[in-house]
């Protein structure tokens, strides 16, 4: 495999990477493609065929399908081989997630929990004994996992949990009391990874078995979507948890909780790519068959626009997810999964990319919401009728912006992580911003359009980074430590960062394809990238103006806006023509066609 570069977390914001330095879906190895094909076949054969049944909660069906998935090693994909897993890389495991996320909530919620938040805390932080005891059973679906963090009064503020854990007099067990809310898989889970306060303040993670006395679940929640999945409250009443079931260290539960969510977040992005691809196929098939005014609606400009935009955003999301997955793989290289330190080292390595993980979560969840919404729109009244998979997808998609940390929390986190990296000296942020401010005084924007395919876009992405850094720098200067309190500004900065990662991931992917396979084969990749950047760049400019307008006034504001104008120069392109070209390329094949597995 070609060696991509191990960038630091958040480094994309200050460094312009080269195409060969990042991983793209065109770089999938033949083994990774086979794994993806296998998951795709399983999805088509076992899940698509049961679309209706899986839309209604049926624990026996879910368990039998998880068992089948386990037999193909899908559940233990990311677990070490010595504990019954397959020890796969993150690119491969993301491919499995992508191809198993296909509109059948009964499966994808359970599968997501089982392979993600329900087992990863053990993979990352479990002691060898804990891993040996539980992981093989989770890998084989003998046990179903669940993750019980949220409480009725503590959602985003999870670390303030009220559930208590009191050490017994003989020091052999903790007594847990409290309630957890909205727990996926709760109805049939055998194992809960949960959290409680030891001595009132020491937030700690515990492994709790369902069969223990005092563990009970409340009634099924009636939800807006994901109707095939189980969601209940979990109640702990004087539950005796042996001390050997403390996960990680007492008082260090936040480390377990936050690192687990990181992985869950970028993988959510892999799931949204899968969901979007299926919806695109549905939308195109419909648009080809629906005749209005004497022709298929896919021939109308506004429908072409919708189809193209769905493809573009999916392409961007996909480029981001696999770039991130490979980055994580590079960061994890050299860690011996059998060593005592493996979990801790893994957690540390992953923590450094929490920023990218949050970006994937926010972008992916909003992308899928957009795609589902447009899919309903293309189908018109038919898309609004129950029983149409698109109607279900529209409701199901909505949860992604809420779970694994709301998109609001993730936006705040993106900026917080960046600031911390800057303060700790992990990223030379302050120096970069200082240099930039000086440069800007004498900076003369080039009046000429850059020559060459995607060269103008390359320049725009580079400029967008400068714009975001200047806005962030000015905001920090104004509010210093109190910036976190200015949530609206923080969110604007986060959105600029998200757009930059999005634009650049698509840009580098298209450039890499272009360099390797030439202009004709990269035609739609280039069109999608250009159309995306043409829209995203002015958005970054607008957000920067909003930031400056909020933090400055008078002469200072005028100077800032003048600087911004120099950086934000761009010439709009004919994105309507590009979108038509993209739509016309996908209509004949009636499925997302930019990635081959």
């Amino acid at each position: 495999m070609a060696k991509e570069k191990l960038f630091k977390g958040g480094e994309f914001l200050i460094t312009d990477a080269l195409p060969e330095e990042i991983f793209t879906p065109e770089d999938f190895t033949s083994e990774q493609k086979m794994i993806a094909q296998s998951a795709e076949e399983f999805g088509q054969g076992e899940l698509d065929t049961r679309w209706e049944e899986l839309g209604v909660l049926d624990p026996d069906l879910i368990k039998s399908l998880l068992k089948k998935a386990a037999d193909l090693d899908f559940l233990g994909a990311e677990m070490p081989e010595i504990y019954g897993g397959a020890g796969l890389d993150k690119v491969s495991s993301s491919l499995i997630t992508e191809h198993l996320s296909r509109g059948t909530s009964g499966f994808f919620v359970s599968y997501g929990v089982q392979t993600g938040i329900g087992s990863l805390p053990l993979v990352l932080f479990g002691s060898p004994e804990q891993k040996k005891k539980y992981l093989p059973k989770l890998a084989s679906a003998e046990m179903i996992g669940a993750y019980a963090l949220t409480e009725p009064q503590h959602g985003s503020d999870a670390l303030g949990a009220e559930t208590t854990a009191v050490l017994s007099e003989d020091g052999k067990y903790y007594v847990l009391n409290g309630q957890k809310q909205f727990i996926s898989n709760a109805g049939f889970a055998d194992l809960f990874i949960t959290y409680a306060q030891v001595d009132g303040t020491q937030f700690t993670s515990f492994i709790v078995e369902r069969q223990w006395e005092g563990v009970s679940v409340d009634a099924e929640e009636e939800k807006m979507g994901v109707h095939g999945s189980s969601t209940r409250a979990v109640i702990f009443k004087d539950v005796k948890v042996p001390v050997e079931n403390v996960l990680g260290e007492v008082g260090r539960g936040h480390v377990v909780a936050l690192n687990t969510l990181n992985i869950g977040r970028y993988k959510l992005g892999a799931g949204t790519v899968g969901g979007a691809k299926l919806l695109i196929a549905e939308a195109v098939k419909y648009a080809k068959g629906r005749i209005q005014f004497g022709k298929p609606i896919c021939e109308f400009g506004l429908i072409k626009h919708k189809i193209a935009e769905m493809v573009i955003r999916t392409y961007v999301n996909e480029s981001m997810v696999y770039r991130t997955a490979r980055l994580l793989d590079l960061a994890l290289e050299g860690i011996d999964p059998t060593s005592e330190e493996a979990g801790k080292k893994t957690g540390e390595a992953l923590r450094k990319y929490a920023l990218e993980c949050s970006i994937n979560k926010v972008f992916g969840s909003e992308m899928l919401d957009f795609v589902a919404d447009e899919c309903v729109q293309i189908m018109g009244g038919y898309g609004y009728i129950k029983g149409n998979p698109v109607e279900t997808a529209y409701r199901d998609s909505r949860i992604n912006r809420i779970w694994e940390g709301t998109n609001e929390i993730n936006r705040l986190l993106i900026v917080d992580l960046l600031m911390r990296a800057g303060l700790k000296g992990e990223l030379p942020l302050l120096d970069t911003i200082k240099k930039l401010t000086e440069e800007l005084l004498t900076f003369r924007p080039s009046m000429e359009t850059a020559e060459g395919v995607l060269e103008e876009e390359r320049k725009m992405v580079s400029m967008a980074k400068k714009i975001a850094l200047l806005s962030a720098g000015a905001s920090v200067q104004k509010y210093m430590q109190k910036l976190a309190g200015e949530q609206e500004i923080v969110a604007l900065i986060a959105d600029m960062i998200i757009e930059i990662f999005a634009m650049e991931s698509a840009l580098l992917r298209a450039l890499k394809k272009l360099q390797k396979e030439g202009e004709e084969k990269a035609r739609i990749h280039v069109a999608a990238t250009r159309a995306y950047i043409n829209d995203a760049f002015p958005k970054v400019d607008l957000m920067a103006r909003q930031v400056f307008a909020a933090i400055s006034e008078g002469e200072e504001l005028r100077t800032q806006l003048m600087g911004l104008r120099k950086l934000a120069r761009y010439t709009p392109i004919n994105a309507i023509a590009l979108r038509r070209e993209i739509a016309e390329s996908i209509v004949p094949v009636a499925r997302y066609h930019l990635t081959r597995i």
Binding site: F42, D73, F74, A77, A86, A281, K285, H593
Partner: protein, 259 residues
């Protein structure tokens, strides 16, 4: 019991509006996804089930380019022991040439059974199996939907027209063209894929087989490929299922179809 399975990688064309390429002799395949030919998938599964029951090994063979190795790796991941790809270079291939190449490769292998799919999803010729049996000089049965092995022979069911099955006894070595539905092809597991990476995938240039120029001369050449011209008289009925059904009934009655 050693089984050789002949497989082919084909483009997936469901839901696709095919376009004719510039040569006018093929469809444009740039945007198409590829898979193991469906019939061959059943043949591979049948072969693996046979060796799982009676011992021996499965060898998968294809004639094609490096891209076609993808389906061989899949066969290895399903449980085949060995795979062979014959690289035809620039040779123009038809059923005859492919069957000649396959025969030459298979002659050098130890085998009791040769399995092929009934046909390939791309051109639907369905002739390689029969020609191959002829070149090998072995018994052959086509459209097989059941195989029951006893010693050096097998009781097989062959699908005839009109839903009739014929039961045959066939003596090994033999070639069977396998029909879809004969079994339930397995999914490929991650461990299977891992194991496949360590198995032998042999590549033979066609020039190493020592076939004569005549053997390698295609007997059929595609002159032109075209899409059927659009005809008049089609009517698209819109509405929900009940309305559509009623309308169809009305038309059928109107045209004098007894219902």
């Amino acid at each position: 019991m050693n089984v050789v399975v002949c497989v082919k990688r084909v483009p997936m064309t469901q839901e696709v509006d095919l376009e004719i390429d510039a040569s006018k002799k093929d469809v444009s395949k740039d945007m198409l996804a590829y898979v193991l030919n469906e019939w061959d998938n059943y043949a591979v599964e049948e072969a693996i089930q046979i060796v799982e029951k009676f011992g021996g090994a499965v060898t998968a063979v294809t004639v094609g380019s490096e891209d076609d190795e993808e389906v061989l790796r899949r066969c290895l991941a399903m449980g085949a022991e060995k795979a062979i790809r014959v690289d035809p270079g620039d040779l123009s291939l038809d059923g005859f040439v492919i069957s000649k190449i396959l025969a030459e490769v298979i002659k050098g292998l130890e085998y009791d059974l040769v399995l092929t799919g009934v046909q390939a999803d791309d051109d639907n010729y369905g002739i390689v199996g029969s020609m191959l049996a002829e070149h090998l000089g072995i018994a052959r049965a086509a459209v097989v939907n059941h195989v029951d092995i006893e010693g050096d022979e097998a009781n097989i069911k062959v699908e005839l027209e009109g839903g009739v099955d014929e039961v045959l006894k066939i003596r090994f070595p033999a070639l069977l063209s396998i029909q879809t539905g004969i079994n339930e092809p397995r999914y490929v597991s991650i461990m299977g894929i891992r194991k496949a990476a360590k198995k032998e995938l042999q590549v033979l240039p066609v020039t190493d087989l020592g076939l004569s120029e005549d053997d390698l001369s295609a007997r059929t050449v595609v002159e032109e490929v075209f899409l059927p011209p659009e005809t008049e008289g089609a009517e698209i009925i819109e509405g929900d299922a009940a309305t559509v059904a009623e309308e169809i009934l009305r038309i059928m009655k109107e045209k004098g179809v007894s219902v």
